[in-house]
Amino acid sequence: MKKLLFLFVAILFVVAGCSSSDDTNSDNPGTDTFNRKALLENIADNIAIPAYKSFKEEMANLKTATSEFVTTADESNLVKLRTAWLDAYVSWQSVSMFEIGKAEEISFRNFMNVYPVTTTEIEKNITDGGYDLNSVSKQDEQGFGALDYLLNGLADSDTGIVAFYSSDVNATKYKTYLSDVVERMDTLTTQVVNDWTGDYRDSFVNNSGSSATSSLDKLVNDFLFHYEKHLRAGKIGIPAGVFSNTTFNEKVEAFYKKDASKALFNANLTALQDFFNGKHFGSTTTGESLKTYLDFLNTIKEEEDLSTLINNQFNLARTEASNLADDFSAEVRTNNNLMLDAYKELQKNVVFLKVDMLSALSIRVDFVDADGD
């Protein structure tokens, strides 16, 4: 036995020896002189803060349109409100990955965009009143998903929907709930934006080390988590039944609007790829980014730049998804294989991003897949 133990230990040493001589220098933080602070500055000043400011304006428009509709509940104001809702919803796709700082603290994403919503609970809130939208138990009764139901899902026609806010016996209560949901979204948005434009920007940029709590390590984890859970799974995989034995066409984003799920998906996919490339919000200029960081480290996989592989894979996913109908719910019902094809392309980038990129950047994954039971 002892001899064997020795043999085993000896083999271990051989393995350890192999690994240290084989590895590239990217695993050694001592040789990584990349300027992380410049990267964080580019993210804060040219991506996150401008995107948030733009989103805040869309939220202000949504609030105005809501107030006009509540004052005069007619079809013309409903159409305007719906447009403002969709504009804000698209704009949201550019900020939803930044679940860091105040957003993380207040659980921003879960209060803004959980879907599917539970319509029976929404109806109960409206009828009974006395709801507390601050409760985490009520996250599936508010946000963009709840507005989707309130603006698109109450009836089949605009006339029918307007009736809920005008002639219905509970019309006042419907108006109150609609206003409360929008007001809360606006309040939370203001909190997050004020934090970024206040003290948080500097503390974010100055926390430029490489540890589990440094800004880049945390943000890269947020980016990956968002890619995996909210883009790949939430928008495509879950409705397509990848994680279950059946499909769930009713679990798509903006289910009641019917023709917006693809636009929301594309906006989010583009925002994530732009973030990877350090592309300034609303501009074609690029700055320091995960891409330039990988290029600096000269990370090669299969004889190709890892950053090129990742960008190619983003593009493949976009191309595959271009075959999908505007209404993902209809796509799931009629030709789910196209959804599964899009999912496969999205999944391939999980490997490049989560395994290869993280290993090159020496960043540890800080989230685990939920249990599921």
Binding site: L4, L7, F8, I11, L12, V14, V15, C18, S19, D22, E104, E105, I106, S107, N110, V114, Y115, P116, V117, T118, V136, S137, Q139, D140, F243, S244, V368, D371, G372
Partner: protein
């Protein structure tokens, strides 16, 4: 990736060397014929049998489902737990006709409870108490939102699952299910069927040496006892000969794991413990082959490996859920439902620690008294889990990890 594979191959080869050497050194001339899969035959027919374990696992699954049906009464749940042959308690094929029951084998191992009957009945009564609590505290409040001191439902963040908790935030169904992993599956396997007092009972050794099969069966009694231990782990697998066929990340989605095997799968998915499932499977297989070869020393060595590693699975899971609960409570926006769900699972795994087995000893890694102390810390506040602090969860985690060869950090992610 490459390094990992190399490492695996190295381990595997080292394992092969180990096996062949031990054959050569210990018992010259005797060959243990170890099959690739858990397949053993006599006269061309299978000699493996663990139907009773498969039955009890299926019964336990139905009991757990019934915990989530507020139409059920305490009496209905009690009857399911202490099933009587012929009673109409279950829906699964053949379960009602079975003479087996879950309760009779709860805290019922020969090594731990044949003398300690007082403790055995105290444990059975704790399971009864959880049933009573679900029926009388939680079911009546099925449509009441839970708050500190009030039983009811509570929904996870992000439109997540709805959980049903008692006034102290504990999910009785989780406490019951995860405690059963220790009190039924682990206790029966580790402290009953893998013990010498069962394997070598009566004429078992003599019969096994002479190939005398049990009356009307195709196995010797010793072979069967070993298989029954195997059945408490793998009895619900679609292919019992190859129960690890779908092990690995995401395999639970196929739903072919149950109770103990489900969490073996989960622990195996953690890169700090990868390979533990195969270690246990190989030990079961070699031990069974050793019985066929009448090599009882090798058999007992495998039993020691199984005892150690299954105990570790339970402990890793206890610490994992405590850490998940701690993370949830540490967040600024606390998701109580998620935290309580994790901690209720943790409660059950802590409870299960009293049924673990240190190899080459007659004792668990943590005694019943120690377990009661830890559960006291977890639930001790006026409102139980509503009051527990992250610091307390860390302290409990460390107290458990200290008794094992892993760290809180390794188990916690």
């Amino acid at each position: 990736m490459k390094i990992n594979n190399l490492f695996k191959i190295t381990c595997l080869s080292a394992g092969l060397v180990l096996v062949s050497c031990s054959d050569d050194d210990d018992t010259p001339g005797v060959q243990i014929d170890e099959p690739t899969n858990y397949v053993f035959e006599r006269d061309g027919k299978s000699s493996v049998s663990y139907g009773g374990q498969t039955t009890r696992i299926a019964m336990a699954e139905e009991i757990i489902d019934a915990f989530k049906n507020s139409e059920k009464t305490e009496a209905i749940l009690d009857n399911m737990f202490a099933h009587q042959e012929g009673a109409n308690d279950f829906t699964g094929t053949g379960l009602n006709e079975s003479s087996k029951s879950v309760r009779s084998k709860t805290a019922a191992s020969k090594d731990y409870f044949s003398v300690n009957v007082g403790e055995a009945s105290a444990i059975k009564e704790e399971f009864d108490t959880w049933i009573a609590g679900q029926a009388n505290e939680v079911f009546p409040n099925w449509n009441t939102e839970a708050t500190a001191g009030v039983a009811g439902f509570i929904q996870e963040a992000g439109g997540g699952s709805t959980r049903y908790v008692n006034a102290k935030g504990l999910e009785y169904n989780q406490a019951f299910a995860k405690s059963l992993i220790g009190a039924l599956m682990a206790d029966q396997a580790l402290n009953n069927y893998l013990g010498k007092s069962v394997l070598d009972d009566a004429n078992n050794v003599e019969d096994n040496n002479n190939g005398v099969v049990a009356e009307g069966k195709n196995y010797t009694t010793m072979e069967h006892k070993w298989d029954e231990a195997y059945g408490y782990l793998f009895g619900a697998a679609p292919d019992g000969a190859k129960p690890l066929a779908s092990i690995g990340s995401g395999s639970n989605q196929k739903g072919d794991d149950s109770f103990l095997s489900k969490y073996l799968d989960r622990v195996n998915d953690d890169s700090d413990f990868t390979g533990i499932a195969d270690d246990i499977y190989q030990a079961f297989k070699l031990g069974r082959a050793a019985i066929v070869a009448k090599e009882y020393t090798v058999r007992d060595e495998q039993a020691a490996i199984i005892r150690e590693k299954i105990s570790q699975v339970i402990a890793v899971r206890a610490v994992y859920y405590l850490q998940q609960g701690k993370n949830a409570l540490d967040a600024t926006t606390v998701d109580h439902a998620t935290a309580f769900h994790d901690l209720s699972e943790g409660y059950g795994f802590i409870y299960s620690l009293q049924f673990t087995r240190k190899p080459n000893s007659d004792a668990p890694y943590l005694t019943r008294t120690q377990v009661q102390g830890l559960i006291g810390q977890l639930m001790g506040g006026t409102n139980g889990l509503w009051d527990v602090t992250p610091a307390t969860l860390q302290a409990i985690s460390e107290a458990i990890a200290n008794e094992f060869n892993f760290t809180v950090a390794q188990a916690g992610s």
